[in-house]
């Protein structure tokens, strides 16, 4: 299998990389793709708990690069999608600098033989952890919230990805608050596109459901696939599979009228 590696990155921390990785990865697996999620945040690890798999992690990335175990045996199978979704956890007892670039590259190459899509959840920052997570990727998804510092960091990261010759699929605008946008107090996705000059991959509305899903240890998309947020993740997955894909979500169905979405069979 000649799979592809996609890094999910942002520069700034706390903008939702891990949640996007978990949910978009889950969406890709639901669409029938064989998906591996790699937690690139070595030393901290977050992806396992967002997926609710923390108790099932036995081996991690570090065990693989030190040849303690074969890659296939280190993977955690996601029981919600047992044929399609797997996790390679990060190690908490090591530092990012302990992972040599060439070792990480070997893991990515081997994973691409086994999976159609290998999603790497990059750590925040632009140092070693970002570098190893990004430079062996074929494609990149950058995540931003509609705020000045986050957008500025994403622009910087896009420049670095271009230097690494990683093709940037586009930006996910996370936690968009439509009320603030309508008031003129939050940058709209179009404003962000004008500034960044990269394609738009998707817009995820701000929603307290995210907090609830993470509390419960289930990806939001598993619990609430037909919520606006859940549909946003699915649309991003479609767009990764086909850049020409036109999202189901039209402008009409946002905001007030989305309350009546069920009348039109949307959820």
């Amino acid at each position: 299998m000649a799979g592809q590696c996609i890094v999910v990155t942002s520069g700034k921390g706390g903008v939702g990389k891990t949640t996007i990785t978990a949910n978009v990865g889950y969406a890709l697996a639901s669409l029938g793709k064989k998906v591996l999620l790699i937690d690139g945040d070595i030393g901290l690890k977050n992806l396992d708990s967002v997926l609710g798999l923390e108790r099932r992690v036995v081996y991690d990335l570090f065990d693989v690069i030190t040849n303690r175990i074969e890659l296939e045996d280190a993977l955690v199978k996601d029981k919600r999608l047992p044929d399609n979704l797997f996790l390679l956890a990060a190690s908490q007892s090591h530092f990012k600098e302990d992972v040599p670039e060439e070792k990480f590259s070997e893991v990515v190459e081997e994973a691409k033989e086994l999976f159609e899509y290998v999603l790497v959840d990059s750590p925040a920052g632009i140092e070693h952890g970002f570098r190893i997570s990004s430079r062996f990727a074929d494609r990149a998804v950058v995540v931003t919230v509609p705020e000045v510092p986050s957008i500025r960091d994403v622009d910087r990261v896009v420049g670095l990805l271009e230097n690494y010759r990683v093709s940037v699929d586009g930006v996910v605008v996370n936690r968009l608050n439509q009320t603030l946008v309508r008031q003129g107090n939050m940058l709209s996705p179009q404003d962000i596109l004008d500034l960044l000059e990269i394609p738009l991959l998707g817009v995820v509305p701000e929603d307290t459901l995210i907090v609830q899903a993470v509390n419960q240890g289930d990806p939001l998309i598993y619990k609430y696939p037909n919520s606006a947020v859940g549909r946003a993740y699915t649309n991003i997955a479609h767009k990764l599979l086909d850049p020409e894909y036109v999202p189901q979500e039209t402008k009409k169905s946002r905001g007030f009228w989305s309350l009546f979405g069920f009348l039109r069979g949307e959820g």
């Binding site: 500025r152 940058l187 709209s188 404003d191 500034l195 000059e197």
Partner: protein
């Protein structure tokens, strides 16, 4: 008060957009002045091997293109062909 500020208040997104426009242009300026000076010297040294140029009148500068990317341009007045050895 909130409807009032909605109607007549300042739309802060315009502040964000204007500030970001300035920041991004600045951030994308990848060469600092010392880099530019050194690069000019090195480029002129190469051109000099092939043509008779007015070194003093050479210019190197950066501009922002419409797509936001940086354009690096070099102007070198040429007096004539370099005399062959």
């Amino acid at each position: 008060m909130s409807w009032f500020s909605d109607l007549f208040g300042r739309h802060t997104k315009n502040d964000a957009k204007q500030r970001l426009e300035v920041m991004l242009i600045h951030d994308r300026g990848i060469f600092d002045n010392a880099d530019l000076e050194q690069m000019e010297k090195e480029i002129l040294a190469v051109v000099k091997r092939y043509a008779d140029i007015e070194t003093g009148a050479a210019e190197i500068c950066t501009d922002k293109l419409d797509n936001g990317r940086l354009l690096l341009s070099i102007r070198v007045p040429v007096r004539g062909q370099k005399s062959r050895r």
